[in-house]
């Protein structure tokens, strides 16, 4: 399958600071790729290199088979920056007409549905808009040409929960229609809903790449069993699907990767009087993975 985004040894240095370090990406058509990392990890710098705002110190980039500086490539890209800024007097309507007009006849602008969907008032100048409303303008501008590639930097930042949900629906629709999506985010719920694959970037390096199936696999369950007296956690170590067990003061916390039937049966055998289940959310996993990728360095 052809790659929509392809980078080879992508590196960006400013003096002694290495913002992006030898990143290799292959993002095929139709995939939603989430680029995850803490602030300053190199996510936005990578996004800015994709569109030729900044040039790599080393390495190569191909976007939609060409260069990010090529207007014919940009005509097929919808971009939402982390912090959208437009001329202060420009209204949403002006912005749609202006940015839609830059592509000439190549672009079919379809903004009315998006305006209604996000509840945007297009008559207000940019200087009067709140952070959330500025975000809405950015989303309408990014999606209005039905681009083949969406590059979205923290897309739901500043949006209320209802609009975040609306955005995720829209993203899922565009993905189903065949668009390729590259997004950066801190919000794992967003990533979980839309992404096919995640790349974990740390200190400018692509520390780890994994599919959502692999990521979800990390979200194994935990079972907390309560006993009337102290029980040795080692009693659970050989139970099928148990990946770990810890015990303190009549409680045993068992990590399970798979069916829990055997664990429950073993708990009953040992006289368990209480049971609680919990599933780690992706935020915990993300932080854990982030920590471990740092430790591994």
């Amino acid at each position: 399958m052809d790659s929509v985004i392809e980078t080879e040894g992508l590196t960006k240095r400013w003096g002694t600071l290495t913002a992006v370090d030898d990143i290799n990406l292959r993002i095929p058509a139709g995939e939603c790729y989430a680029f995850l990392g803490l602030n300053g990890a190199g996510k936005s710098t990578t996004a800015r290199m994709l569109l030729d705002f900044i040039r790599p110190t080393r390495g190569t980039i191909r976007v939609l088979g060409g260069q990010g500086s090529d207007p014919s490539v940009r005509a097929r890209v919808g971009y939402l920056p982390g912090d959208l800024n437009l001329p202060r007097s420009m209204t949403g309507k002006d912005a749609i007409a202006f940015f839609g007009g830059l592509g000439g006849d190549r672009l079919h602008v379809d903004s009315a549905g998006l305006i209604e969907r996000f509840g945007l008032d297009p008559s207000r100048p940019f200087r009067e808009l709140s952070t959330g409303n500025r975000r809405k303008v950015g989303l309408v501008l990014a999606f209005m040409t039905n681009p083949d590639l969406l590059i979205l930097d923290e897309p739901t930042s500043g949006l209320d929960p209802l609009l975040q949900e609306e955005f995720r629906d829209l993203l899922a629709e565009r993905k189903a229609a065949g668009a390729t999506i590259w997004l950066t985010s801190h919000v794992m719920a967003e990533v979980e809903r839309v992404a096919d694959r995640v790349g974990l970037v740390r200190d400018g390096k692509l520390a780890r790449e994994l599919t959502m199936a692999e990521l979800r696999h990390q979200a194994i369950g935990q079972i907390r069993l309560t006993f009337p007296a102290h029980v040795d956690a080692g009693q659970f170590q050989r139970v099928p699907h148990v990946t770990g067990a810890q015990g303190t003061n009549g409680e045993v916390l068992v990590s399970v990767d798979g069916p829990v039937t055997d664990v429950l049966a073993r708990g009953a055998e040992l006289g368990a009087t209480g049971i609680e289940t919990e599933k780690r959310d992706l935020d915990d996993i993300f932080l854990e993975m982030y920590q471990s990728s740092g430790d591994a360095k």
């Binding site: 705002f53 971009y79 437009l86 001329p87 940015f99």
Partner: protein, 283 residues
């Protein structure tokens, strides 16, 4: 195609400020002309006898009589306030073309769309030239229309130091064109400097400071050189040297008027070249 869209949008974003500038400059020009009836016939010797420094400050070179219509327009407008106003506008526009929007991130967003850096640079510099031209044309026209209202089109007669009568012609539309055009030229040259610094650095403050320092520094250098004489070799860099020395509003256009146009073109081309090759600043 997209160049025209960028050009029109840039002008539209500045429509209100252009109107304010135009009205402001027109008012100052007309108000300055309105003082002529009360000052006409004043002795040129009084105004011009303050030594070379004062003459330099007032632009009274080559024996210009400040009591004559053209001499009055020269010292009250064209040698001082008028080019300063246009230069301030030129610097603001030159800075806004690249660096102003770059600092806010608006330029980066524009460059995410199907438009090249070259298109943006050319369209915006053309926009800066257009606005400068609009303000110059309207203020020049306002002054032409003011000439008969304040007797600036009437010839005057004065008595020279040797007792002979000197007849000074009234100001004409051609004189106003010469003065306005040369002021526009010097302002455009400074706009080119502002564009150049902004396009190289992407920093609004640096471009504003650098271009302003160039304009003000050139004036100070020229004035000091007239006082001391020792700095004269350095004044080639000052736009005031040819502007004040040639006094084109009084004596007509000279080929020196080409210099600031050439400077603007060189500034634009180098700025464009640098803009194509550098990273955009992080907003």
């Amino acid at each position: 195609m997209s160049g025209g869209v960028v050009y029109r949008r840039w002008l539209r974003d500045r429509a209100r400020s252009t109107l304010v500038w135009t009205v402001g400059v027109v008012l100052i020009v007309v108000a300055s002309a309105a003082f002529y009836p009360s000052l006409s016939g004043a002795s040129g010797g009084g105004l011009g006898s303050g030594g070379s420094a004062m003459s330099s400050l007032l632009g009274l070179s080559k024996g210009i009589d400040p009591g004559s219509p053209l001499g009055f327009l020269w010292i009250s407008l064209y040698a001082n306030i008028y080019p300063w106003m246009l230069m301030a506008l030129g610097v603001a526009l030159g800075v806004a073309a690249i660096a102003g929007d770059e600092e806010t991130g608006a330029l980066e967003y524009l460059l995410a769309k199907p438009v090249t850096r070259t298109t943006v640079a050319f369209a915006r510099f053309a926009g800066a030239v257009t606005i400068l031209l609009v303000v110059s044309v309207f203020s020049g026209l306002a002054l032409v229309l003011s000439l008969p209202l304040f007797d600036l089109n009437q010839a005057t007669t004065s008595t020279a130091a040797d007792g002979s009568k000197v007849i000074s012609p009234g100001a004409t539309a051609i004189d106003i064109f010469n003065g306005t055009f040369s002021s526009f030229a010097v302002a455009l040259g400074l706009a080119g400097v502002a564009f150049l610094i902004g396009a190289i650095t992407g920093r609004k403050g640096v471009a504003l400071g650098g271009a302003s320092a160039f304009g003000i520094g050139g004036y100070v250098l020229y004035t000091l050189s007239n006082m001391t004489g020792s700095l004269k070799p350095l004044t080639w860099i000052s736009p005031w040297r040819w502007y004040v020395d040639d006094a084109m509003a009084v004596y007509g256009l000279t080929w020196n008027v080409v210099l600031p146009f050439a400077g603007a073109v060189v500034g634009f081309l180098i700025g464009w070249w640098a803009f194509l090759r550098r990273d955009l600043q992080n907003p």
